[in-house]
Symmetry: C2
């Protein structure tokens, strides 16, 4: 693999250094349009809010804005980042958990955002933070079951920290209504990185039944229904892409049918994908810094567990491509430069023979990669570059020793 969006990988590495995150604007835009047009085909009152937590680069957010996307923020600082990218008001869906009263003081200052609350206790804290409650809120429901790519990203079920147990949802909405909230939405997200289209329709069905149960008794209707994200991408060659058209058709059919049945009218259908929109549009270019013939063969890269945490944190797999494919393949372990044996990016994979100085590209590095980077071993957090229409530009610079030292200025 030697180009990203028509730009030579060697050119990028030599201009910006390695390790380097690179995003392909055409690809992220295409991801957005694929999802958006599939939804529009079956239910036009939909909104896609890109999940900033998956990638918080302001230029990435601007690209999504240009494509027509809205944005989801999961913390006060992500609201500021979304605003810096030009989003405001209704275009921001705020969705956090266990926020402090101080967090809610800030959040409630943006009362035209869609504000989602993770619990009844969150509502109580919002009410402590401001007597001027937002006109509209939603609650996140935990239906008691969940499914994700693996446990750490399964975001509902009895062990999940998220959402209100659905038995208590009625109580939460009643409390909000009695406190003067006028308009309501509802939210549920049960897991991340699912590739199975039927899964989402089932989730919609479940959420709509809960919505009916809760809302009918309180004589309110949902203004929006946020079914979360969780739309998966294939990290392995053997996996198939999520069939977005089928998924959109299934969820829309279920949604429309339930809205009619429950008399909900035509509420806004909201999705908040992160991974689906940006994972495969992101690449991590890294240089081979050492090749070791030990009990196994180790290829050492200048990217490691501090640069990209998913392999060490979840045992997650990312495909790695050699710049030069012409060499015969061999079985290798890929590691970084961090002084810890967790710093393994891949075990026993086949790659064309690599030598020091060679470049490799780690795929699907757009989501949950840069945002989880650390300065472990005092290795600096990498730079990010955007490629678009045959051009490339730096969109966040590499951390430096001066940045480290800057935290001692006070």
């Amino acid at each position: 693999m030697n180009t990203i969006g028509e730009i030579g990988i060697k050119e990028l590495a030599s201009e910006y250094g390695t390790p380097l995150y690179v995003y392909d604007e055409q690809k992220l835009t295409a991801n957005y349009h694929r999802l958006k047009s599939a939804l529009d085909k079956y239910y036009t009152r939909n909104s896609i809010h890109f999940a900033t937590k998956s990638n918080n680069n302001i230029e990435v957010l601007k690209s999504f804005k240009k494509a027509g996307s809205r944005v989801e923020a999961s913390s006060p600082m992500e609201i500021l980042i979304a605003e810096a990218a030009g989003f405001s008001g209704d275009d921001i869906f705020y969705n956090g958990n266990y926020e402090s009263v101080e967090d809610f003081e800030f959040i409630s200052s943006r009362s035209s955002m869609k504000i989602n609350l993770d619990d009844i206790s969150s509502f109580d804290r919002l009410f402590k933070a401001t007597k001027e409650l937002p006109e509209r809120i939603s609650f996140r429901i935990n239906p008691g079951v969940g499914r994700g790519g693996f446990e750490g990203i399964t975001t509902a079920g009895s062990d999940a920290k998220f959402g209100i147990p659905y038995e208590m949802a009625k109580h939460a909405y009643r409390k909000a209504k009695e406190a003067g909230v006028k308009r309501f939405g509802i939210h549920m997200m049960t897991g991340s990185n699912n590739l199975e289209p039927y899964y989402f329709a089932e989730a919609v069905d479940k959420l709509m039944m809960i919505a009916h149960d809760v809302f009918s008794e309180l004589d309110i209707a949902p203004e929006f229904v946020n079914i979360g994200g969780g739309f998966g991408v294939p990290y392995y060659d053997e996996e198939s892409e999520l069939d977005v058209d089928l998924m959109a058709r299934l969820i829309s059919e279920t949604f429309i049918e339930r809205c009619q049945k429950y008399g909900f009218g035509s509420p806004e259908l909201i999705l908040e994908p992160g991974r689906y929109l940006i994972a495969n549009a992101g690449y991590l270019i890294s240089q081979v810094t050492g090749v070791k013939d030990s009990y196994r063969k180790f290829i050492g890269l200048d990217a490691g567990m501090g640069t990209i945490a998913r392999p060490s944190l979840y045992g997650a797999f990312h495909r790695i491509k050699a710049y030069d494919n012409s060499n015969p393949e061999e079985r290798v372990n890929i590691c970084g430069q961090y002084c810890e044996n967790s710093d393994i990016l891949a075990k026993g994979i086949s790659l064309p023979k690599l030598a020091e100085g060679d470049l490799v590209t780690i795929l699907d590095a757009g989501a949950y990669c840069y945002v989880m980077a650390s300065s472990y071993n005092s290795r600096p957090i990498p730079a990010e570059v955007m490629v678009s229409s045959g051009k490339h530009k730096l969109i966040r610079r590499r951390e430096t020793f001066d940045d480290f030292m800057n935290l001692y200025n006070f």
Copy 2:
């Protein structure tokens, strides 16, 4: 738990905010002296090099320097940090892995450091980086077996990325000798967080046999023997402290006996502990931001997987203490504010009943905690404070939105 080093935890939280890392200088100094005096009792030609990778705060390094410690650095930036704390030359033990030629250009500019190489290929890169080789080097040996608290921190054995397989060690030293290196050391570290004193003596024995095998044939003697770190601390109430005196006696006896047997004279015995010196001198103060009665009871903190990664990364356990112990205990899950179910700090532990706004203290947070922090969910990296002799001072400020934005200035 309501004080750290005689300072009220409420006072610290109110002055510096939460989450907040706090280090107790008396405690870290006592840790150093306990280890140092145990070693001095049995073998005086010893050096302790504090592992910067466990805690890279410059004021923490200065405290260790004041106590008499030397320092270990694992990357070029850690060398700069050690220098900023006042260390230089021989007081710095450099010990990295899979460094690039560019890294070695920088490293070799500090030729009076002790420079440890992870492989023969590292030596080749050092030689590419500079024709003026350092006078003295050492190699890290992988004896083919290892033991750590768990797999991610087991740093030797056939699956470990570290060190030269001992069968190839002779070849490495010969190559270095023929290239003109005059003085040699040897290094081995097989695992981290071991609490068993006999383990270390066995490791020394193994390393000395390897040293004998390698060095006798090349007619050289080790100027130093670095047995690494790995000295454990109890993270659970049920665990006992490492018996440092016994450990020091056992390793010294083995070391002296082997030096005599192999005619090594009295080489410097080097230890590079991180965790043992700083883990229990560090505390993470956090505020309860939410209390949720879901399918389980969740206590949400303003510290989470971005603040302290060890629980989500390794499933590691850290004791958590409530500020107020007078309430009856209940079983709870402790989580942070991150939008991910990996963000669980403890499951099913008993704690005195907690309410929003209460403070808790996470113990043993001095090592491998701040250094692995990330800005995930755009939550800022916390501040660090040192308490000493009844006083407290900020030693690194909290990250701000301006710091995030600063990476867009280029």
